[in-house]
Symmetry: C2
Subunit: 273 residues, 2 copies
């Protein structure tokens, strides 16, 4: 078997594994760094447990909201908290639609049942929302509101897009995912290319996960510092250490990089040099 | 879903992942150390690609030799060389037989077709044999000899047992696998327990992978030094650094520890503290 013949579900698992192992990545869990409650092993366990849901997406039959719910449910059995919620939001339509154009068609076909399943998945995670959000996942009326307004999962993503760059990928046609895949292919092979693509995306947009946790100023500062590292004016290791000390972890860029690796692997990019 | 409800194939994948991530492990690839040609990512990619063969074992229908061949074939698509051949030899009957007693029954039922499939799997790896071995995998007459003598896969393991501690597990009833599982349960949870079980097994028998590569004297010295580390008379980090410098990697103990983790997980041992 050539790795080029691997199944889409395996390619997605490989992308999840390669992203978390790549180092040094500023602020995130990587081969050299754990958080006290979320460790490398938690990310890798989720990579294993996600298989069944990723295979469901590969079959392209079930509903996207339900498949995202299954992925969250099946990877929720360890003590490491949420590891891949954002990644599943990107990977599942990309697998289901066999690429970005098909993902966009699939997204347009989501309905209120997908939105409800997605909110049930969301409620299983500890992912933070914006405190002012009208569709608060902790509020039992939210599901009623979604049903009353007959909101599709695409509507939910449109609602979330201003504050969430993962949701924004659905609405804007996966531009950062695409850009990350191109960066990987331009940056050579394997681990170094992943770090390079990660830093370049981080330098181009404020990470919305950082915004939710620390506010826009810190997200912007992180973006500028990633640019300084790329320009050779700042050490990556020092940047990483500072992010870790201040609990700044660019989790949304990490989700997008996973989707980028998935796409790049399908286009022949080599992780294995 | 509770992790206690995980499928046998997932438990085996989790065991493969946890073993390679545990550190520091003297001489082997771990979270802190790669070999130039075989890296952490290769071990983790094999963990992902093994899924289909491990599921075959879980169904308990096909033939063990053929399933081992599928596991080797499916994990052979990267450039990292052999990562888990020994682990598959242990895991596949353990999954197939739903534990050690069932594995022993399954092993007794192997026939010449299992032996032939196994040799074909062996030929796909770069695993070394003893140079004086009559059943040399590189010799095209070996398959003829196996067929002429009507050797079962159990016969092959009996033939290999004196020089290979993984084969010996088949013949002697998985005593080291069992002991490793008990050690894990006695040593607490997670990563530290894996390192402790690894060192204790390493201190109890010369690793046959080291014997094949460096001879018995080096394997014995490694065993004594593991004992010194356990007794607190030598630092684990210094032992690890020295093994790496001298290219001494206890690969057979690593295979057995994977099987031990698999058994311990099924008995409720917690990897996740």
């Amino acid at each position: 078997m050539s790795c080029l013949l691997m199944r889409a579900a395996e390619r997605a698992q490989l992308a999840m594994m390669l992203e978390v192992c790549a180092y040094p990545k500023p602020g995130n869990v990587d081969r050299c760094h754990d958080y006290p409650d979320t460790r490398l092993e938690h990310f890798l366990a989720s990579t294993i447990f996600a298989r069944t849901a990723l295979e469901e997406a590969e079959q392209g039959t079930g509903r996207i909201g339900e498949i995202i719910k299954h992925a969250v449910r099946d990877t929720n059995c360890h003590l490491g908290g949420n590891t891949h919620f954002g990644a599943f939001i990107l990977l599942i339509p990309l697998i289901y639609g066999k690429g970005i154009p098909g993902a966009l068609s699939a997204i347009e076909k989501t309905d209120v049942s997908d939105a409800v399943a997605f909110y049930k998945a969301f409620a299983m995670t500890s992912v933070k929302m914006n405190t002012t959000d009208e569709l608060d996942v902790k509020d039992p009326h939210t599901l009623t509101l979604i049903r009353e307004r007959d909101m599709t999962l695409f509507d939910i993503m449109r609602h979330s897009a201003p504050n969430d760059m993962v949701a924004r990928e659905w609405v804007t046609g996966f531009p950062l995912t695409r850009r990350g895949a191109d960066l990987l292919r331009q940056s050579g092979e394997g681990r170094q290319a992943i770090v390079q693509a990660f830093l370049t995306l981080l330098a181009s947009e404020p990470d919305t996960f950082i915004i939710k946790k620390h506010g826009l100023a810190v997200a912007r500062e992180t973006m500028y510092r990633a640019r300084e590292v790329l320009d050779g004016n700042h050490s990556l290791e020092a940047f990483d250490a500072d992010c870790i000390a201040r609990d700044i972890n660019p989790g949304s860029i990490a989700d997008i990089v996973i989707a980028s690796i998935y796409i790049a692997l399908g286009e022949g990019w080599s992780w294995d040099s």
